[in-house]
Subunit: 384 residues, 2 copies
């Protein structure tokens, strides 16, 4: 997919030789002008050097010009040498872009934890990466992948012609306790930085934070939004567009979850609060027993009920409604349904689980995937 | 294993025809005298009828005489009919035992959620079950199993000759947010009921609540301790014995986790508090990425660090120590080790992960197991 970027942005990807596979592993997004931006990062206490560095730049509050990303190496838990490599990552990139301040370049790394980043390879690859910069996404979208099987891009065009384009990677170690992957959302719609920073965590909470593949929280997660502020737009419309781009990316990541054969969408309604709606939806999407049942086309709704029950969301077990692929399987008590027929409706690419808690009027969605033997294979053989 | 029960207890198991397999599925523990007892139950909001009933008997505080257990059917999420069946379960058992008060009989169910309990089959099997009562455990230990591959019994003899015998079942839907399986611990050591009720939750927190197979919390969990109060014993020695019986059962459940090929023991030291030590140990034992790495003999310690980092326990990532099968893999920074050699030491029945958080002097253990393709097979094909 050759996706056109919003006005004022350029991107590129290249092969720096970090991945043993020889695939693209170094990517760059560049903004012609200083950008308004907002960032959410992993809540894992073990933070990659890039996460700590970006958070400190975020606190400074100044505009940025670029984000450089490598895949194949997380540069996490690599001690002082790793911190130095990450600083060099920013400095070398700023130099290659002729930017005077290395603090105007964010860095992002993803891949194996605990191995030193070959910063010399990055250094050598940067000039050609900068030369490759284009107003299209493909090279960049490829360069950030790890165990992903496809690139992940979503775009929305607003009324006045402004655009929102999101590019993400993520397939495993995906869990909703902050951003859960790398996501870069670019727009040319005019928005003050302060407004963007207010809005962003709320959008991330409803999208990326409602996404789980395996319950593991990465050390390198981040979700970054940048605006080149070129096209005046309605603020509400922009918020909606950002929301739908992030939800679209979350869905694509779940769909491409490690070993996944099916996308699982969990829709919770009737919750007492938005927080409880999100909690309940996430608990179902996370449950390995629900995920294996979905894998096996097994309408084992008791596991869904048990997951909601353990989520912390309020409800009354005598009243709660559970629907599986549109069929009511529980409401007040178990419902009669044709087991074979319902099972056959689950033998498809997307399985929808709907839950009405019936104690309020808040709702939330969560995205997950089934758990397959392929997940075991991928993750049992990762470093050896 | 024909394990002798503590003085004053009898037990039995029989085939009531609840399990389609035709295996034993109805068990009974009977105490000749009124017992001191304590109970912990699942924290899942979706509670089986037996859990609600037992909790109400617990609040009344009176001694009990028996616990009756069926496997093959959880009698959970079965509405009013399920509540009635559970009451009948207690009444029929009290009648068969010639007890005047059905509230002196606890009930426990385990198996599939959402299917009505065939209480008529239980009724017909009860007389022969009572006739089978013996001062030994085997029939009972078998009758409570579901996907377990072996019975789980642990015994300790105290100085004065009092005994503590624990019998448990559990293999899947095992997670430490309360008791996580059925466990019945019997002793003839003298202990006042109030002391027992003070002690029990603490013992459960250090043993069963540190056990995880898959992160799912059952609707039917309970851990019950009963004393026939026949042999005077030292209170501290009894507490130690109860503790080691429960830890032994927790280990056996993890060892027999669904699809497990290896027991994973996680030992955390140097935590700021006991709670944080338990949190960190549990997070590692729960992580699907650590579990699959252990399955594949992969010394991927970055996943261990990431799991501790997401656990909520305090530490400094520059100081933390991680040992895998006795080899230091991380301390302040990644350590050099022979990947092939360490991998080969993981190709064994028990894998030990040791973590020193270096911020205090509290420690805790957690038990888990590897995650295998067999787990997927077992759970993808449970009801269909």
């Amino acid at each position: 997919m050759a996706m056109k970027l919003p006005k004022g942005f350029e991107a590129a990807g290249t092969k720096a030789g970090i991945k043993p596979s020889g695939l693209q592993d170094l990517g760059l997004i560049y903004c012609l002008d200083p950008t308004a931006w907002a960032l959410t990062s992993t809540r894992n206490q073990v933070k990659a050097a890039c996460v700590s560095r970006n958070q400190s730049i975020y606190r400074a509050g100044t505009p940025i010009r670029a984000v450089v990303v490598n895949s194949g190496n997380a540069n996490a838990a690599t001690g002082n040498q790793g911190i130095k490599s990450d600083e060099d990552f920013g400095i070398f990139t700023a130099n290659a872009l002729n930017l005077t301040d290395s603090q105007s370049v964010l860095t992002a790394s993803t891949g194996i934890i605990g191995v030193q980043l070959p910063i010399d390879k990055v250094y050598q690859a940067l000039p050609s990466l900068v030369k490759n910069l284009k107003s299209e996404s493909p090279g960049f979208a490829e360069s950030i992948l790890t165990t992903d099987t496809t690139t992940k891009e979503v775009a929305v065009v607003l009324k006045n012609g402004a655009r929102v384009v999101g590019i993400a990677k993520g397939s495993g170690m995906i869990h909703p306790d902050m951003a859960t992957m790398l996501a870069f959302v670019l727009t040319d719609a005019v928005i003050p930085q302060e407004t963007l920073r207010d809005l962003w965590p709320r959008i991330v909470d409803e999208s990326f934070n409602q996404l789980t593949v395996d319950g593991d929280t990465s050390t390198n997660d981040m979700a970054l939004v940048m605006s080149s502020n070129r096209v005046p737009e309605d603020a509400l419309e922009l918020a909606d567009a950002l929301n739908s781009v992030c939800m679209g990316l979350a869905e694509k990541i779940a769909q491409d979850g490690e070993g996944a054969t099916k996308l699982m969408i969990v829709q919770v309604r009737g919750a007492r609060s938005a927080t409880e709606a999100r909690l309940a939806a996430r608990a179902v999407a996370l449950s390995p027993l629900v995920k294996t049942a979905v894998h096996g086309n097994d309408p084992n709704w008791g596991r869904i009920l048990a997951a909601v029950g353990a989520s912390g969301a309020s409800f009354n077990q005598e009243k709660i409604l559970v629907k599986l692929q549109g069929t009511v399987v529980y409401e007040n008590a178990p419902q009669n349904f044709d087991l074979e027929k319902l099972s056959s409706t689950m033998n498809t690419e997307t399985v929808l689980i709907e839950i009405d808690l019936k104690v309020g009027n808040h709702s939330a969605k969560a995205w997950g995937c089934d758990l397959s033997a392929e997940y075991i294979r991928i993750n049992a053989e990762y470093t050896t």
